[in-house]
């Protein structure tokens, strides 16, 4: 049986309330056919292909019946939406899953800063649950990091240290982490939404037969159900959705980098280090890692940058990025760009911020000559502080900006650079 949802025509008053509550905008109001001889002119129509069967409209319509002050000629109104949802019974003893886990990502035996962000948010979750906080580190020559993880808040650290983990290979990491999950049964598992995290977390989820929420930016525990509420942006941040994994464990989520502050270090903090024995001989590994080629580019990578100075079409010419580079250097930040400038070949793609480029969340984002098309805003609107420099005071970027300066960027930026240098010298 498939899920079903339909409107009882004779009960619908066409009030439009359900349209407002639908999270996926699948309900619209249509004109009621004239011959139906009902006093209400409108009728709700549901696009079942878009419906996610969340029940919001049903609850809303039922509630309206209680609340309405309109005198009904007949009480048979509202309660107009009927949903029949397929129920799948999954029998998992959720109570036997304990503890909050964080995956500590490392590259070439160095810890990535994402783990500190995970530990920060996971600490709060573990306290709310009153369960242990553990870190899992998979790599080669990584055992020495265990104490650091403990000092950043982990109660336990699972260490899988073996030459087979020297380089990140999806299959290898998946089987190792899945085996550990099946054995230790954690309650929650957070992973970074970095390239490595995004690559293999979903493989792990499927191997462990559980659900995963991608790219969360807010995480909390429901005190009643003890479930993880993972909130994530979709449509480039224009819609936020809170996701639950009700019946499967562990509840997994990847966490967007730079969404949380880093956990503070408590030197000398004590915890348990568990060296997990690794025996790759029984694994069926087909992938062969050939080699790693480091990036030659010296410029700061925008994805992790704390400060970004971005240039847009308002620069008018490719040479404009020289000025932006100089500005970025003085501020100590990376260089970003809007899509039209990348399309025009003024600057390489890796600098592009936006829906089809990188998503960034710096402390400071300076947008120079960027009007603020929605596609660009999608990539940077969660920056903590946005400074806009633009000729057009009506541009969308000004509405978003913390501080905005109206004027010719070629006039203003050199003056700003000069001013910053002056202040720095003064110090």
């Amino acid at each position: 049986m498939a899920n079903e949802i339909f409107i009882l025509k004779e009960r619908c008053t066409g009030c439009g309330s359900c349209v407002k509550v639908c999270p996926v905008n699948c309900i619209s109001m249509a004109d009621r056919p004239k011959e139906e001889n009902v006093r209400w002119k409108k009728l709700a129509v549901i696009d079942v292909n878009k419906c996610v069967f969340c029940n919001a409209c049903v609850e809303d319509c039922d509630k309206l019946f209680e609340k309405t002050k309109i005198k009904m000629p007949n009480p048979d109104f509202f309660h107009a939406i009927v949903m029949k949802k397929e129920v799948v019974n999954v029998q998992i003893d959720t109570a036997s899953y304990k503890g909050v886990w964080c995956f500590a990502e490392q590259r070439h035996s160095h810890l990535m800063p994402t783990i500190y962000e995970l530990l920060h948010v996971a600490k709060k979750l573990s306290l709310d649950l009153n369960e242990d906080l553990s870190a899992v580190i998979i790599g080669h020559k990584v055992t020495s990091h265990a104490q650091d993880l403990i000092e950043h808040g982990a109660d336990k650290v699972y260490v899988l240290d073996h030459p087979v983990f020297e380089h990140f290979v999806d299959e290898v990491y998946t089987v190792a982490l899945t085996e550990l999950i099946k054995k230790e049964k954690p309650n929650k598992l957070l992973m970074p939404a970095s390239i490595i995290g995004r690559s293999f977390s979903s493989r792990v989820a499927i191997a462990a037969q559980t659900g995963i929420t991608a790219d969360s930016t807010e995480l909390s525990i429901n005190p009643k159900t003890r479930m993880l509420h993972a909130t994530r942006p979709s449509f480039g941040g224009n819609l936020m959705a809170t996701i639950l994994c009700e019946k499967h464990r562990p509840e997994m989520a990847t966490v967007r980098p730079m969404s949380f502050p880093r956990a503070l270090k408590v030197p000398g903090r004590k915890g348990e280090i568990i060296n997990v024995p690794v025996d790759p001989s029984k694994w069926n590994i087909r992938t062969k890692f050939i080699k790693y080629v480091p990036e030659k580019d010296e410029t700061i990578d925008i994805t992790g940058a704390e400060k970004i100075v971005s240039g847009g079409r308002g620069l008018g010419k490719p040479e404009g990025f020289k000025l932006i580079e100089e500005f970025a250097k003085v501020v100590g930040g990376a260089v970003g760009a809007s899509r039209p400038t990348v399309d025009a070949g003024w600057i390489p793609y890796r600098h592009q911020v936006g829906l089809t480029g990188r998503t960034v969340r710096p402390k400071l984002y300076i947008a120079c000559g960027i009007s603020g098309q929605i596609q660009h805003l999608a990539g940077m609107s969660s920056a903590e502080n946005i400074i806009a420099i633009n000729k057009d005071p009506e541009c969308p970027m000004f509405k978003l900006a913390t501080l905005s300066v109206e004027g010719d960027l070629y006039e203003l930026i050199p003056l700003i650079i000069q001013e910053i240098k002056k202040v720095k010298d003064h110090k």
Binding site: G316, K317, D343, A344, G345
Partner: protein, 407 residues
């Protein structure tokens, strides 16, 4: 406006538009500045089958006619009238072969032109012979099974990019206009070399070259349409090729209007959008009206021509006779008058509209950073080549007098 295009024609428009907007727009300025040949774009056009829209399926084409070519030209020219010439010049090379070629000539040359594997060019102009083709000095002397070409051609569009050329030379200088013959010449033939490259005002993505022929020996099988029939080959070709120029002009005009409207709406003066001034709206209204009138004329004439042309092409494939001969059986009248009208009107509209576009954009319109001045530079050539607009008026006037005398 719904012009009731067929499914195929609509697909041609969609694909051409996608290439124009996605691939050509971002690079048009580059090619305008550097005068490089847009080979990467030509490759896109090839992969999308756009070179073959007006060829018979027997040569790997899609079986369309002039209308299909016009749709491609219009859409590409909306982004860049210069890059569009890679297709138009190839068409101008192919049309004489399609109309006058023998079955062998068609089999030999058309498939490569239809696939875009080889580009084509058409060369008739000489230093002394422009509008007056009868002054042709380039000679082709019969020598057994060969012709020996000598002389210079200039202003050859698609110059060094082409590999197949249709060329006009005198086989009998004494007979003047009646001594001119058409030939097919391939690049790489001994004695055929490129002369100087012209630096132009507009359509700078299209290379214009001088061609030199120094005892260039070609087979007699490369004679197109019989000795002394050159002018009728040229005239027959122009009849069906001029709408292509018209479509280029129309696309340039539309492209300029689109850019201008977008800018004028955004640009604020005296606290309001420039487009909110009635004087601007009146200008825009005139531009849009002229463009639509031009388009209506172009499509109507081209569809009427195709009605007869496609029929002739089809019968020619069966009979083995030249398309032009088949056409004479069907065509109620020659198309010279109407094809001249289309070329005249569309190109005059393009010049008018692009000039007004620069005016409406004000200072920025005059700047190289903004594409509108390029449209204006590109538009000018459409009033000049494939017969100046003065020649077009002559043709129309001559046709009117002739019709009067026949009443």
């Amino acid at each position: 406006m719904n012009y009731f295009l067929t499914e195929e024609q609509q697909a041609i428009v969609d694909i051409s538009r996608e290439i124009a907007q996605k691939k050509i727009k971002p690079v048009r300025e580059h090619y305008d500045v550097t005068e490089e040949y847009p080979w990467p774009i030509v490759e896109e056009l090839r992969k999308a089958d756009l070179f073959g829209v007006y060829f018979h399926p027997n040569y790997g084409g899609l079986g369309g006619g002039g209308m299909e070519l016009c749709l491609v030209m219009e859409e590409i020219s909306k982004a860049c009238g210069g890059i569009a010439l890679s297709i138009a010049c190839t068409a101008l090379c192919a049309f004489p072969i399609i109309l006058f070629g023998t079955p062998e000539q068609k089999k030999r040359y058309l498939p490569d032109l239809a696939s875009g594997k080889k580009l084509g060019a058409f060369t008739i102009t000489e230093p002394e012979a422009g509008s007056d083709a009868t002054a042709t000095r380039c000679t082709a002397k019969k020598d057994g099974n060969f012709y020996i070409l000598n002389g210079t051609k200039n202003f050859c569009s698609n110059g060094n990019a082409a590999e197949i050329y249709t060329l006009f030379a005198s086989t009998n200088p004494k007979r003047g206009a009646r001594g001119i013959s058409a030939f097919i010449v391939e690049k790489g033939t001994a004695g055929f070399s490129m002369g100087k490259k012209e630096v132009k005002m507009g359509i700078r993505a299209s290379p214009t070259y001088e061609l030199n022929f120094d005892n260039c020996k070609i087979s007699k099988d490369n004679l197109l349409g019989g000795e002394g029939h050159g002018l009728s080959v040229a005239q027959g070709t122009f009849d069906i090729s001029r709408p292509g120029v018209a479509a280029q002009a129309l696309g340039i005009a539309q492209g300029a209007l689109d850019e201008t409207l977008a800018y004028a709406k955004m640009r604020k003066q005296f606290g309001q959008s420039v487009l909110s001034f009635q004087s601007s709206q009146h200008m825009a209204a005139d531009m849009a009206t002229q463009i639509e009138a031009a388009r209506a004329l172009l499509y109507t004439v081209t569809k009427a021509m195709d009605h007869e042309l496609l029929q002739a092409v089809e019968t020619s494939e069966k009979s083995g006779k030249a398309v032009y001969d088949e056409l004479k059986q069907i065509a109620s009248r020659r198309w010279t008058k109407y094809s001249a009208m289309v070329k005249l009107y569309c190109s005059d509209v393009a010049m008018k509209v692009t000039t007004d576009a620069v005016q409406l954009c004000g200072g920025i319109g005059y700047m190289r950073d903004f594409p509108v001045e390029k449209f204006m530079r590109d538009a000018k050539i459409t009033q000049i080549y494939e017969g100046t607009n003065q020649i077009q008026r002559n043709e129309i006037g001559y046709a009117l007098i002739k019709e009067l005398s026949q009443k």
